[in-house]
Symmetry: C2
Subunit: 212 residues, 2 copies
DNA sequence: CAGCATCCGCTTTGATACTG
DNA sequence: CAGTATCAAAGCGGATGCTG
Protein backbone atom coordinates (compact mmCIF):
# COMPACT_ATOMS: atom_id res chain seq x y z
CA UNK A 1 0.00 0.00 0.00
CA UNK A 2 1.19 3.46 -0.74
CA UNK A 3 1.90 6.27 1.63
CA UNK A 4 -1.13 8.38 2.41
CA UNK A 5 -1.13 12.12 1.94
CA UNK A 6 -2.96 12.43 5.23
CA UNK A 7 -5.14 15.23 3.96
CA UNK A 8 -8.85 15.62 4.51
CA UNK A 9 -9.60 16.37 0.87
CA UNK A 10 -11.45 14.34 -1.73
CA UNK A 11 -8.67 14.61 -4.26
CA UNK A 12 -6.01 13.53 -1.79
CA UNK A 13 -8.16 10.62 -0.62
CA UNK A 14 -8.68 9.57 -4.24
CA UNK A 15 -4.94 9.71 -4.87
CA UNK A 16 -4.33 7.67 -1.74
CA UNK A 17 -6.25 4.91 -3.51
CA UNK A 18 -5.38 5.26 -7.20
CA UNK A 19 -2.45 7.68 -7.19
CA UNK A 20 0.28 5.07 -7.31
CA UNK A 21 2.00 4.45 -10.57
CA UNK A 22 0.09 2.05 -12.88
CA UNK A 23 -3.08 2.08 -10.81
CA UNK A 24 -5.19 4.23 -13.10
CA UNK A 25 -3.90 2.39 -16.14
CA UNK A 26 -5.07 -0.85 -14.59
CA UNK A 27 -8.46 0.76 -14.12
CA UNK A 28 -8.44 1.85 -17.77
CA UNK A 29 -7.63 -1.68 -18.82
CA UNK A 30 -10.55 -3.04 -16.84
CA UNK A 31 -12.86 -0.32 -18.15
CA UNK A 32 -12.17 -1.41 -21.72
CA UNK A 33 -12.66 -5.05 -20.79
CA UNK A 34 -16.12 -5.02 -19.25
CA UNK A 35 -16.21 -8.81 -19.25
CA UNK A 36 -13.19 -8.91 -16.98
CA UNK A 37 -9.57 -9.70 -17.65
CA UNK A 38 -7.15 -12.42 -16.76
CA UNK A 39 -3.74 -11.62 -15.38
CA UNK A 40 -2.09 -12.07 -18.74
CA UNK A 41 -4.70 -9.93 -20.49
CA UNK A 42 -3.78 -7.14 -18.11
CA UNK A 43 -0.08 -7.63 -18.61
CA UNK A 44 -0.54 -7.47 -22.34
CA UNK A 45 -2.66 -4.34 -22.07
CA UNK A 46 -0.11 -2.66 -19.84
CA UNK A 47 3.11 -2.85 -21.80
CA UNK A 48 6.03 -1.89 -19.63
CA UNK A 49 4.60 -2.96 -16.30
CA UNK A 50 6.74 -5.24 -14.18
CA UNK A 51 4.89 -8.38 -13.28
CA UNK A 52 5.52 -8.00 -9.56
CA UNK A 53 4.12 -4.49 -9.66
CA UNK A 54 1.03 -5.66 -11.47
CA UNK A 55 0.48 -8.30 -8.81
CA UNK A 56 1.05 -5.78 -6.01
CA UNK A 57 -1.27 -3.20 -7.50
CA UNK A 58 -4.02 -5.70 -8.11
CA UNK A 59 -3.79 -6.68 -4.48
CA UNK A 60 -3.95 -3.06 -3.35
CA UNK A 61 -6.90 -2.34 -5.61
CA UNK A 62 -8.73 -5.34 -4.26
CA UNK A 63 -8.14 -4.22 -0.69
CA UNK A 64 -9.47 -0.77 -1.46
CA UNK A 65 -12.53 -2.23 -3.16
CA UNK A 66 -11.82 -0.98 -6.68
CA UNK A 67 -11.15 -4.36 -8.25
CA UNK A 68 -12.80 -7.69 -7.66
CA UNK A 69 -11.22 -11.04 -8.33
CA UNK A 70 -13.33 -14.01 -9.25
CA UNK A 71 -11.94 -17.43 -8.56
CA UNK A 72 -13.20 -19.92 -11.13
CA UNK A 73 -15.29 -22.83 -9.95
CA UNK A 74 -14.66 -25.55 -12.56
CA UNK A 75 -11.41 -27.54 -12.17
CA UNK A 76 -9.25 -25.74 -14.66
CA UNK A 77 -9.52 -22.09 -15.43
CA UNK A 78 -7.89 -18.88 -14.37
CA UNK A 79 -9.03 -16.05 -12.12
CA UNK A 80 -10.77 -13.06 -13.65
CA UNK A 81 -10.35 -9.49 -12.48
CA UNK A 82 -13.19 -7.05 -12.84
CA UNK A 83 -13.99 -3.55 -11.64
CA UNK A 84 -16.39 -3.33 -8.76
CA UNK A 85 -19.17 -0.77 -8.94
CA UNK A 86 -16.98 1.49 -6.84
CA UNK A 87 -14.22 1.05 -9.40
CA UNK A 88 -16.52 1.74 -12.33
CA UNK A 89 -17.36 5.04 -10.66
CA UNK A 90 -13.87 6.13 -11.67
CA UNK A 91 -14.98 6.34 -15.29
CA UNK A 92 -15.70 10.11 -15.28
CA UNK A 93 -12.28 10.81 -13.79
CA UNK A 94 -10.52 8.52 -16.24
CA UNK A 95 -12.38 10.09 -19.13
CA UNK A 96 -11.57 13.61 -18.00
CA UNK A 97 -7.89 12.77 -17.69
CA UNK A 98 -7.86 10.97 -21.03
CA UNK A 99 -9.46 13.94 -22.73
CA UNK A 100 -6.95 16.31 -21.18
CA UNK A 101 -4.06 14.07 -22.15
CA UNK A 102 -5.42 13.66 -25.67
CA UNK A 103 -4.23 17.19 -26.25
CA UNK A 104 -0.70 15.82 -26.33
CA UNK A 105 -1.32 13.06 -28.84
CA UNK A 106 -0.08 14.86 -31.96
CA UNK A 107 3.04 16.16 -30.24
CA UNK A 108 3.92 12.94 -28.46
CA UNK A 109 6.96 11.12 -29.70
CA UNK A 110 9.30 8.26 -29.01
CA UNK A 111 8.57 4.58 -28.93
CA UNK A 112 4.92 4.31 -28.11
CA UNK A 113 2.99 1.18 -27.39
CA UNK A 114 -0.56 1.00 -28.58
CA UNK A 115 -3.62 -1.19 -28.15
CA UNK A 116 -6.74 -0.52 -30.18
CA UNK A 117 -8.84 -1.15 -27.11
CA UNK A 118 -7.53 2.03 -25.54
CA UNK A 119 -9.60 3.94 -28.09
CA UNK A 120 -12.78 2.90 -26.33
CA UNK A 121 -12.45 5.46 -23.55
CA UNK A 122 -11.86 8.56 -25.69
CA UNK A 123 -14.44 7.43 -28.24
CA UNK A 124 -17.17 7.21 -25.63
CA UNK A 125 -16.02 10.39 -23.90
CA UNK A 126 -15.67 12.61 -26.96
CA UNK A 127 -17.92 11.36 -29.72
CA UNK A 128 -21.66 11.94 -29.56
CA UNK A 129 -24.69 10.96 -31.57
CA UNK A 130 -25.83 14.26 -33.02
CA UNK A 131 -28.77 12.73 -34.86
CA UNK A 132 -30.39 10.57 -32.21
CA UNK A 133 -33.55 10.00 -34.26
CA UNK A 134 -31.75 8.56 -37.27
CA UNK A 135 -31.44 4.80 -37.50
CA UNK A 136 -28.55 3.24 -35.59
CA UNK A 137 -25.29 2.77 -37.46
CA UNK A 138 -22.04 0.90 -36.90
CA UNK A 139 -18.54 2.18 -37.43
CA UNK A 140 -15.50 -0.02 -37.62
CA UNK A 141 -12.16 1.47 -36.64
CA UNK A 142 -9.22 -0.41 -38.10
CA UNK A 143 -5.90 0.38 -36.54
CA UNK A 144 -3.41 -1.27 -34.25
CA UNK A 145 -3.78 -4.84 -33.09
CA UNK A 146 -7.50 -5.45 -33.44
CA UNK A 147 -10.61 -3.73 -34.78
CA UNK A 148 -12.94 -1.62 -32.67
CA UNK A 149 -16.68 -1.28 -33.29
CA UNK A 150 -18.60 1.87 -32.50
CA UNK A 151 -22.35 1.59 -32.24
CA UNK A 152 -24.17 4.87 -32.71
CA UNK A 153 -27.90 5.36 -32.18
CA UNK A 154 -30.59 6.71 -29.92
CA UNK A 155 -28.30 9.50 -28.80
CA UNK A 156 -25.69 7.13 -27.48
CA UNK A 157 -22.25 5.99 -28.54
CA UNK A 158 -20.83 2.67 -27.44
CA UNK A 159 -17.49 1.22 -28.37
CA UNK A 160 -15.87 -2.13 -27.82
CA UNK A 161 -13.09 -4.22 -29.25
CA UNK A 162 -14.22 -6.65 -31.89
CA UNK A 163 -15.94 -6.67 -35.24
CA UNK A 164 -19.50 -5.54 -35.92
CA UNK A 165 -22.18 -8.20 -36.36
CA UNK A 166 -23.37 -6.76 -39.66
CA UNK A 167 -21.20 -5.02 -42.15
CA UNK A 168 -20.26 -1.55 -40.89
CA UNK A 169 -21.77 1.62 -42.32
CA UNK A 170 -18.46 3.42 -42.04
CA UNK A 171 -14.87 2.24 -41.83
CA UNK A 172 -12.06 4.39 -40.52
CA UNK A 173 -8.52 3.13 -40.85
CA UNK A 174 -5.04 4.50 -40.50
CA UNK A 175 -2.04 4.66 -38.21
CA UNK A 176 -2.88 4.67 -34.49
CA UNK A 177 -1.59 8.13 -33.70
CA UNK A 178 -3.54 9.71 -36.54
CA UNK A 179 -6.72 7.86 -35.64
CA UNK A 180 -6.41 8.86 -31.98
CA UNK A 181 -5.66 12.43 -33.03
CA UNK A 182 -8.89 12.51 -35.00
CA UNK A 183 -10.90 11.09 -32.10
CA UNK A 184 -9.30 13.52 -29.67
CA UNK A 185 -10.34 16.37 -31.91
CA UNK A 186 -6.80 17.64 -32.31
CA UNK A 187 -6.44 16.45 -35.88
CA UNK A 188 -9.14 17.65 -38.28
CA UNK A 189 -10.36 14.78 -40.38
CA UNK A 190 -9.66 16.75 -43.53
CA UNK A 191 -6.00 16.98 -42.57
CA UNK A 192 -5.89 13.42 -41.34
CA UNK A 193 -5.97 12.07 -44.88
CA UNK A 194 -2.47 13.46 -45.34
CA UNK A 195 -1.19 11.24 -42.54
CA UNK A 196 -2.84 8.10 -43.77
CA UNK A 197 -6.36 8.12 -42.36
CA UNK A 198 -8.85 6.60 -44.76
CA UNK A 199 -12.59 6.86 -44.43
CA UNK A 200 -14.93 4.74 -46.51
CA UNK A 201 -18.64 4.04 -46.55
CA UNK A 202 -21.43 6.35 -45.46
CA UNK A 203 -19.46 9.50 -44.74
CA UNK A 204 -22.50 11.31 -43.35
CA UNK A 205 -21.81 9.31 -40.19
CA UNK A 206 -18.65 11.37 -39.75
CA UNK A 207 -20.80 14.47 -39.25
CA UNK A 208 -23.26 12.59 -37.09
CA UNK A 209 -20.41 11.86 -34.68
CA UNK A 210 -19.22 15.46 -34.68
CA UNK A 211 -15.98 14.61 -36.42
CA UNK A 212 -16.62 17.11 -39.20
CA UNK B 1 10.96 14.57 -14.83
CA UNK B 2 9.26 11.29 -14.35
CA UNK B 3 9.49 8.16 -16.41
CA UNK B 4 7.04 8.05 -19.29
CA UNK B 5 4.65 5.17 -19.74
CA UNK B 6 5.42 5.23 -23.45
CA UNK B 7 1.82 4.50 -24.36
CA UNK B 8 -0.16 6.17 -27.11
CA UNK B 9 -3.20 6.79 -24.91
CA UNK B 10 -4.67 10.01 -23.59
CA UNK B 11 -4.76 8.76 -20.02
CA UNK B 12 -1.15 7.59 -20.09
CA UNK B 13 -0.04 10.87 -21.66
CA UNK B 14 -1.91 12.78 -18.95
CA UNK B 15 -0.25 10.70 -16.26
CA UNK B 16 3.13 11.31 -17.87
CA UNK B 17 2.53 14.98 -17.05
CA UNK B 18 0.62 15.00 -13.76
CA UNK B 19 0.94 11.42 -12.53
CA UNK B 20 3.88 11.98 -10.23
CA UNK B 21 3.26 12.23 -6.54
CA UNK B 22 2.14 15.72 -5.41
CA UNK B 23 1.56 17.02 -8.91
CA UNK B 24 -2.23 16.98 -8.88
CA UNK B 25 -2.28 18.39 -5.36
CA UNK B 26 -0.18 21.29 -6.57
CA UNK B 27 -2.74 21.80 -9.33
CA UNK B 28 -5.53 21.72 -6.73
CA UNK B 29 -3.71 24.30 -4.66
CA UNK B 30 -3.42 26.61 -7.65
CA UNK B 31 -7.04 26.00 -8.61
CA UNK B 32 -8.19 27.25 -5.21
CA UNK B 33 -5.85 30.24 -5.43
CA UNK B 34 -6.91 31.82 -8.70
CA UNK B 35 -4.83 34.91 -7.94
CA UNK B 36 -1.70 32.80 -7.85
CA UNK B 37 0.41 31.52 -5.02
CA UNK B 38 3.86 32.15 -3.68
CA UNK B 39 6.17 29.30 -2.87
CA UNK B 40 5.37 29.46 0.81
CA UNK B 41 1.64 29.60 0.14
CA UNK B 42 2.00 26.34 -1.73
CA UNK B 43 4.09 24.78 0.97
CA UNK B 44 1.50 25.69 3.55
CA UNK B 45 -1.31 24.33 1.38
CA UNK B 46 0.55 21.06 0.84
CA UNK B 47 1.33 19.81 4.32
CA UNK B 48 3.75 16.93 4.18
CA UNK B 49 5.54 17.88 0.99
CA UNK B 50 9.31 17.98 1.12
CA UNK B 51 10.53 21.37 0.03
CA UNK B 52 12.90 19.97 -2.57
CA UNK B 53 10.08 17.95 -4.11
CA UNK B 54 7.88 21.02 -4.31
CA UNK B 55 10.62 22.89 -6.12
CA UNK B 56 11.21 19.94 -8.48
CA UNK B 57 7.55 19.51 -9.26
CA UNK B 58 7.01 23.19 -9.90
CA UNK B 59 9.85 23.07 -12.39
CA UNK B 60 8.41 20.00 -14.10
CA UNK B 61 4.97 21.58 -14.29
CA UNK B 62 6.43 24.71 -15.79
CA UNK B 63 8.28 22.73 -18.42
CA UNK B 64 5.12 20.88 -19.34
CA UNK B 65 3.17 24.13 -19.58
CA UNK B 66 0.77 23.48 -16.70
CA UNK B 67 2.11 26.16 -14.37
CA UNK B 68 3.40 29.63 -15.12
CA UNK B 69 5.78 31.54 -12.94
CA UNK B 70 5.66 35.31 -12.84
CA UNK B 71 8.78 37.13 -11.81
CA UNK B 72 7.91 40.33 -9.99
CA UNK B 73 9.01 43.64 -11.52
CA UNK B 74 9.30 45.99 -8.53
CA UNK B 75 12.51 45.73 -6.46
CA UNK B 76 11.45 43.41 -3.71
CA UNK B 77 8.77 40.80 -4.01
CA UNK B 78 8.56 37.10 -4.57
CA UNK B 79 7.60 35.08 -7.63
CA UNK B 80 4.01 34.05 -8.10
CA UNK B 81 2.93 30.70 -9.50
CA UNK B 82 -0.28 30.43 -11.43
CA UNK B 83 -1.98 27.83 -13.61
CA UNK B 84 -1.76 28.38 -17.32
CA UNK B 85 -4.88 27.95 -19.40
CA UNK B 86 -3.65 24.45 -20.19
CA UNK B 87 -3.36 23.81 -16.47
CA UNK B 88 -6.82 25.18 -15.73
CA UNK B 89 -8.14 22.65 -18.24
CA UNK B 90 -7.38 20.03 -15.60
CA UNK B 91 -10.30 21.27 -13.52
CA UNK B 92 -12.82 18.67 -14.77
CA UNK B 93 -10.38 15.88 -14.03
CA UNK B 94 -9.56 17.23 -10.58
CA UNK B 95 -13.25 17.65 -9.80
CA UNK B 96 -14.07 14.14 -10.94
CA UNK B 97 -11.33 12.66 -8.80
CA UNK B 98 -12.28 14.80 -5.82
CA UNK B 99 -15.90 13.71 -6.12
CA UNK B 100 -14.87 10.09 -6.31
CA UNK B 101 -12.54 10.45 -3.35
CA UNK B 102 -15.21 12.30 -1.37
CA UNK B 103 -16.85 8.93 -0.95
CA UNK B 104 -14.12 8.07 1.52
CA UNK B 105 -14.43 11.15 3.67
CA UNK B 106 -16.61 9.70 6.42
CA UNK B 107 -14.53 6.55 6.69
CA UNK B 108 -11.15 8.23 6.54
CA UNK B 109 -9.14 8.24 9.71
CA UNK B 110 -5.80 9.03 11.21
CA UNK B 111 -4.07 12.37 11.50
CA UNK B 112 -5.50 14.46 8.73
CA UNK B 113 -4.40 17.89 7.68
CA UNK B 114 -7.04 20.28 6.52
CA UNK B 115 -7.29 23.66 4.81
CA UNK B 116 -10.65 25.32 4.36
CA UNK B 117 -9.65 26.36 0.88
CA UNK B 118 -9.77 22.73 -0.23
CA UNK B 119 -13.54 22.93 0.08
CA UNK B 120 -13.71 25.17 -2.96
CA UNK B 121 -13.29 22.33 -5.46
CA UNK B 122 -16.00 19.99 -4.13
CA UNK B 123 -18.37 22.90 -3.45
CA UNK B 124 -18.23 24.04 -7.06
CA UNK B 125 -18.31 20.48 -8.38
CA UNK B 126 -21.21 19.19 -6.30
CA UNK B 127 -23.45 22.04 -5.25
CA UNK B 128 -25.79 23.66 -7.74
CA UNK B 129 -28.17 26.59 -7.81
CA UNK B 130 -31.55 24.90 -8.11
CA UNK B 131 -33.45 28.18 -8.12
CA UNK B 132 -31.57 30.23 -10.68
CA UNK B 133 -34.26 32.91 -10.87
CA UNK B 134 -34.25 33.71 -7.16
CA UNK B 135 -32.09 36.59 -6.00
CA UNK B 136 -28.43 35.80 -5.36
CA UNK B 137 -27.42 34.73 -1.87
CA UNK B 138 -24.20 34.26 0.04
CA UNK B 139 -23.25 31.37 2.28
CA UNK B 140 -20.40 31.46 4.73
CA UNK B 141 -18.74 28.19 5.65
CA UNK B 142 -16.89 28.35 8.95
CA UNK B 143 -14.52 25.49 9.57
CA UNK B 144 -10.81 24.92 9.64
CA UNK B 145 -8.30 27.72 9.30
CA UNK B 146 -10.28 30.39 7.47
CA UNK B 147 -13.83 31.04 6.28
CA UNK B 148 -15.07 30.24 2.80
CA UNK B 149 -17.75 32.19 0.97
CA UNK B 150 -20.14 30.60 -1.48
CA UNK B 151 -21.96 32.89 -3.87
CA UNK B 152 -25.12 31.39 -5.32
CA UNK B 153 -27.18 32.98 -8.06
CA UNK B 154 -28.12 32.96 -11.72
CA UNK B 155 -27.74 29.20 -11.81
CA UNK B 156 -24.11 29.32 -10.75
CA UNK B 157 -22.17 28.50 -7.62
CA UNK B 158 -18.84 30.11 -6.89
CA UNK B 159 -16.67 29.58 -3.85
CA UNK B 160 -13.53 31.24 -2.59
CA UNK B 161 -11.62 31.62 0.62
CA UNK B 162 -12.51 34.79 2.54
CA UNK B 163 -15.48 36.51 4.06
CA UNK B 164 -18.53 37.75 2.20
CA UNK B 165 -18.80 41.48 1.51
CA UNK B 166 -22.27 41.72 3.02
CA UNK B 167 -23.53 39.64 5.87
CA UNK B 168 -24.20 36.07 4.71
CA UNK B 169 -27.71 34.70 4.23
CA UNK B 170 -26.65 31.34 5.60
CA UNK B 171 -23.84 30.22 7.85
CA UNK B 172 -22.65 26.63 8.07
CA UNK B 173 -20.14 25.72 10.72
CA UNK B 174 -18.73 22.60 12.24
CA UNK B 175 -15.73 20.28 12.25
CA UNK B 176 -13.98 19.94 8.88
CA UNK B 177 -14.72 16.28 8.32
CA UNK B 178 -18.42 16.73 8.98
CA UNK B 179 -18.65 19.80 6.77
CA UNK B 180 -16.84 18.05 3.94
CA UNK B 181 -19.05 15.01 4.43
CA UNK B 182 -22.11 17.18 3.98
CA UNK B 183 -20.72 18.82 0.86
CA UNK B 184 -19.72 15.46 -0.58
CA UNK B 185 -23.27 14.26 -0.10
CA UNK B 186 -22.22 11.33 2.05
CA UNK B 187 -23.49 12.86 5.27
CA UNK B 188 -27.14 13.94 5.23
CA UNK B 189 -27.48 17.38 6.73
CA UNK B 190 -30.07 16.07 9.17
CA UNK B 191 -27.55 13.62 10.57
CA UNK B 192 -24.73 16.16 10.46
CA UNK B 193 -26.14 18.04 13.42
CA UNK B 194 -25.22 15.04 15.59
CA UNK B 195 -21.57 15.48 14.68
CA UNK B 196 -21.47 19.19 15.30
CA UNK B 197 -22.62 20.85 12.10
CA UNK B 198 -24.63 23.99 12.78
CA UNK B 199 -26.69 25.81 10.21
CA UNK B 200 -28.09 29.26 10.89
CA UNK B 201 -29.82 31.92 8.84
CA UNK B 202 -32.06 31.42 5.84
CA UNK B 203 -32.27 27.65 5.78
CA UNK B 204 -34.20 27.63 2.49
CA UNK B 205 -30.78 28.14 0.91
CA UNK B 206 -29.90 24.62 2.01
CA UNK B 207 -32.54 23.25 -0.33
CA UNK B 208 -31.60 25.67 -3.06
CA UNK B 209 -28.12 24.12 -3.05
CA UNK B 210 -29.46 20.58 -3.12
CA UNK B 211 -28.19 19.81 0.37
CA UNK B 212 -31.64 18.81 1.58
C1' DC C 1 12.76 35.39 5.79
C1' DA C 2 11.50 33.41 0.96
C1' DG C 3 13.11 30.23 -2.33
C1' DC C 4 15.35 26.96 -3.28
C1' DA C 5 19.71 23.12 -3.42
C1' DT C 6 22.22 19.34 -1.17
C1' DC C 7 22.76 15.32 1.45
C1' DC C 8 21.22 10.96 3.41
C1' DG C 9 18.45 6.93 4.87
C1' DC C 10 14.60 4.57 3.41
C1' DT C 11 11.03 2.94 0.21
C1' DT C 12 9.37 2.01 -4.33
C1' DT C 13 10.13 0.74 -8.91
C1' DG C 14 11.63 -2.05 -12.84
C1' DA C 15 13.99 -5.89 -15.06
C1' DT C 16 14.84 -10.48 -14.86
C1' DA C 17 14.66 -15.05 -13.09
C1' DC C 18 12.16 -18.53 -11.01
C1' DT C 19 8.00 -21.56 -9.17
C1' DG C 20 3.41 -24.11 -8.46
C1' DC D 1 -1.00 -19.25 -16.62
C1' DA D 2 -0.46 -16.63 -12.65
C1' DG D 3 2.03 -15.08 -10.10
C1' DT D 4 6.63 -14.86 -6.32
C1' DA D 5 11.69 -13.82 -5.47
C1' DT D 6 15.59 -11.09 -6.01
C1' DC D 7 18.27 -7.04 -6.55
C1' DA D 8 20.02 -2.72 -8.63
C1' DA D 9 18.45 1.82 -9.57
C1' DA D 10 15.47 5.51 -9.02
C1' DG D 11 12.40 8.22 -6.22
C1' DC D 12 10.75 10.01 -1.79
C1' DG D 13 10.80 12.36 2.79
C1' DG D 14 13.21 14.78 6.30
C1' DA D 15 16.84 17.67 7.75
C1' DT D 16 19.87 21.04 6.89
C1' DG D 17 22.60 24.54 4.30
C1' DC D 18 23.05 28.24 1.07
C1' DT D 19 21.85 32.75 -1.16
C1' DG D 20 19.54 37.14 -2.09
Amino acid sequence: MSRSYGQLCGLALALDVIGDRWNLLIVRELLVRPDGARYTDLRDGLPGVATNLLADRLRDLQHSGVVGREEPKPPVATPVFRLTEYGRALRPAVEALAVWGGERVPGSSGEQDFRSRWLVVPIEALLADHHPDDPAVRVEVRTGDEPVVVEVGGGEVHARAGRPQDRPDLVISGPPKAVLGVISGKLPIAVAADVGVEVSGDTTVVNRLGLG
